[in-house]
């Protein structure tokens, strides 16, 4: 079964410092991996995805993620954190089955990022 794990409940970083939010995955076949961000009392916003190709994926708001097949990781990164980046971040993997293209996303438990001024 496909799964993702986010080992950190919370990450604190000072404004201007680089940030990393960790995600590891377990899949059969090629992984389709995603990062979403959720601000308080809001829905989830798509940040970036890895399907194939370059291991470094660039996304919205200056975020990027590095796909590492040998370590089965897909960590979210940003070179310089902003206070406004403080939010809940979810890693997800797409699980597809059957012949009709049925799929669902499996989400991690989320990591709360706090950027301190």
């Amino acid at each position: 079964a496909q799964s993702v794990a986010q080992p950190e409940d919370q990450v604190n970083v000072a404004e201007g410092n680089p940030l990393t939010v960790k995600c590891t995955y377990s899949v059969s076949g090629n992984p389709y991996l995603f990062w979403y961000v959720q601000y308080p009392n809001r829905g989830l916003q798509f940040l970036l995805k890895y399907i194939t190709g370059d291991n470094l994926v660039k996304g919205s708001y200056g975020f990027e993620a590095e796909f590492n097949k040998s370590q089965t990781s897909f960590h979210l990164k940003k070179p310089s954190a902003l206070v406004s980046d403080s939010a809940l971040y979810f890693c997800a993997v797409r699980d597809m089955w059957g012949t009709s293209g049925t799929y669902k996303y499996i989400f991690g438990t989320g990591t709360r990022l706090k950027v301190l001024a």
Binding site: Y32, G43, R94, G98, T102, F107, T109
Partner: protein, 115 residues
């Protein structure tokens, strides 16, 4: 272009009642999925619909049902509400373009409180 829109944004229901949540996908998107997010957890898959047909169902009881209309909008229905149904219900839509990796885009959600 408008994103995924959901209604209502907040509602309070009593145990045993029924609720209907509505969703309009992004224009051109034909697939709609529903997720439940309980406080402190990641979203859990409830249903996927494509071209008005149910394509997938998560591990939820039969009290949960959904449908998709010819204009690709969707409704999620929950009968005999329990306290544990209190959650944020998220609708997501995706493009039929498989090359996009079936990226799903979420609405702002409907907050359901069961008392």
């Amino acid at each position: 272009d408008a994103g995924v829109t959901q209604s209502p944004t907040h509602l309070i229901k009593t145990r045993g009642q029924h609720v209907t949540l509505r969703c309009s996908p992004i224009s051109g998107h034909k697939s709609v999925s529903w997720y439940q997010q309980v406080l402190g957890q990641g979203p859990q898959f409830i249903f996927q619909y494509y071209e008005k047909e149910e394509r997938g169902r998560g591990n939820f009881p039969d009290r949960f049902s959904a449908r998709q209309f010819p204009n690709y909008s969707s409704e999620l229905n929950v009968n005999a509400l329990l306290l544990g149904d209190s959650a944020l219900y998220l609708c997501a839509s995706s493009s039929p373009d498989r090359g996009s990796g079936n990226t799903i885009y979420f609405g702002e959600g409907s907050w359901l409180t069961v008392v």
